[in-house]
């Protein structure tokens, strides 16, 4: 297969899409967030425990393409244990990585391989909404929950 595709679906994404570590339900949670793309039908329910401004635990359920699935897994991986400010800056970083209009190269933003894998979305603008589906929704909710951390 051609290189463009390979770079989009490199092992990170195909692996993370199949990774079941964060798939499931939490017994109890403080926040539940639904990330839904009405145009393609991808839909995830994120359950989160936030304690003292810190994301203690995350799980998700739902269905979607391998890009949205992998990005939701990586979201859980990266944000577990972060405080509100770290969550928001982590999200902002991710959004910049997938944004084809961003001024910085993805490599200037992060060295993390798993995050960098999503930079290929810059080449496929129509798949950007898959890559940032869960991140965008989480950002929206966090900005409402913690307006004092939000810069918007």
């Amino acid at each position: 297969m051609n290189d463009r595709l390979k770079s989009l679906y490199q092992t990170v994404i195909l692996t993370k899409a199949k990774d079941k570590k964060f798939v499931g339900q939490l017994e109890s949670y403080t926040h539940s967030i639904t990330a839904y793309n009405p145009l393609c039908g991808d839909k995830y329910e994120l359950q989160i425990i936030v304690e003292d401004d810190v994301v203690k635990s995350l799980k998700y359920n739902g269905s979607g393409c391998s890009i949205s699935k992998a990005s939701t897994t990586v979201l859980c991986e990266k944000l577990e244990g972060c405080n509100a400010q770290q969550v928001l800056s982590g999200i902002a970083e991710f959004m910049e990585i997938v944004d084809s209009d961003a001024s910085r190269n993805a490599e200037e933003i992060t060295k993390n391989e798993e995050l960098l894998a999503f930079a290929a979305a810059r080449e496929f603008p129509e798949r950007k909404s898959c890559a940032d589906l869960s991140w965008k929704e989480l950002q929206k909710q966090f900005n409402q929950l913690f307006p004092y951390h939000s810069k918007e």
Partner: protein
């Protein structure tokens, strides 16, 4: 026009895709490509006799008005209407249905009756009725689907036992491909005095339309799915019904008399055509109808059927692939799902080989929910497709299996 060489009538196929491949366009159910004759008709119109219509007494307005009214007559013949006054130009199927739904329930007479749609409707033939049902106190009910992907006509007959205002049904499902027995559905509706509307968006480009045979009161289709321009569609309605309906919109050209205090309106079709029409769109629609009639619907159908049957056969062998619907009569489209391979990933993969298929819910969420799937992949055919397209598609599909699974 020979169906074997018809692709050459469509300029878009003359170029390579950005991936460097030929364009293999398998999404005609969403919108069809345009033949040179349709494109030329628009260029020629704007270059040679463009003017607003509506009886200005100068050339080129006289010529543009004449051409628009000529297309109206051609549409009349194309759909087998009794009079050209039964042909209202709209901007598409969605526009037609919204205007009809918005105008038709204009008294309290309808309260408590039901509107019957089906579980396989496109959102365009569902949500407008839903909204108006709520606004005017009607009940919206849906004819259920059999497991085969066909409508449950026994259940439909039971539904009809309650007072029914209107039955709105698609002639061909844009997801399952099911060809409904519209004639029977409309006759049953007529028997209980219900008004009938047929969504012919998918039927028109495949088999043409005959409103007399379909036995409906209203019907609609879109130009852009019939090899014609965007922004133009038709609403057919029986003459007396169209004349009784309050105007769909208000403005220039549809008026008899206006005072600040009140206004009166012309008869159909002008009554329902407010403002400047999509004149070039109408001209292009005329050229599109000429095109399909020149090819001939017998040719179109048998050509597309051949491709559909071939693809069905080839898909049957593929592991983990499930085709939606197993009905006998099917239009030129097939939707399917693959275990573990999401439609969007497949579509992105196929795009790298220049192959265009649709992934998603196809604007038919109730149907997707019925099948308990969030999305499917759809392949649909137009006159320009050929066996090579099917072959390339199958080859790429197998590549996707290797890549993703």
């Amino acid at each position: 026009m020979n169906i074997k060489s018809i692709k050459s009538e469509f300029p878009i196929f003359r170029q390579k895709t950005p991936a460097g491949t030929d364009l293999i366009y398998l999404d005609s159910a969403s919108s069809t490509q345009k033949p040179q004759s349709v494109i030329d008709s628009i260029t020629e119109f704007y270059s040679s006799h463009y003017a607003n219509t509506g009886r200005a007494s100068y050339w080129p307005a006289t010529e543009s008005t004449r051409q628009v009214e000529q297309v109206r007559k051609n549409v009349q013949q194309f759909i087998g209407a009794k009079s050209e006054t039964e042909v209202v130009f709209t901007s598409g199927t969605t526009d037609s249905i919204n205007k009809l739904a918005n105008s038709i329930f204009n008294s309290d007479l309808w309260k408590g009756r039901q509107i019957i749609v089906s579980e396989m409707e496109h959102h365009a033939n569902l949500v407008p009725w839903q909204i108006e049902a709520e606004r005017h106190g009607l009940n919206l009910v849906a004819i259920p689907l059999l497991d085969s992907g066909e409508l449950d006509l026994v259940a439909y007959k039971e539904l009809l036992e309650k007072p029914t205002a209107l039955v709105a049904i698609t002639a061909i499902s844009n997801v399952l491909g099911t060809i409904n027995d519209v004639n029977k559905i409309c006759r049953l509706a007529k028997a209980v005095g219900a008004i009938t509307f047929v969504d012919a968006a998918q039927l028109a480009p495949y088999a043409g339309v005959n409103v007399e045979y379909l036995c409906c009161d209203f019907l609609s289709f879109s130009g852009h799915k019939l090899y014609g321009p965007t922004g133009i569609g038709v609403l057919y309605g029986k003459q007396d019904l169209l004349n009784q309906l309050p105007p769909f919109a208000f403005g220039g050209g549809m008026i008899t008399e206006v005072d600040i205090e009140g206004s009166s309106f012309r008869d159909s079709p002008f009554r329902h055509e407010a403002g400047t029409l999509n004149i070039a769109g109408i001209i292009g629609l005329g050229a599109a109808i000429d095109f399909v009639e020149e090819v001939g619907f017998e040719t179109i159908q048998s050509h597309e059927d051949e491709l559909t049957i071939d693809l069905l056969n080839r898909l049957a062998d593929i592991e983990g692939l499930k085709i939606l619907g197993e009905q006998d009569r099917r239009g030129p489209l097939i939707s399917f799902t693959i275990d573990g391979l999401h439609p969007h990933d497949l579509s992105t993969y196929l795009n790298e080989s220049g192959i265009c298929v649709r992934a998603g819910h196809h604007c038919a969420q109730p149907l997707m929910k019925k099948y308990q799937i969030p999305a499917s992949t759809r392949v649909s055919f137009g006159v320009y497709n050929d066996m090579n397209d099917v072959e390339q598609f199958i080859k790429a599909l197998k590549g996707a299996y290797e890549f993703f699974l």
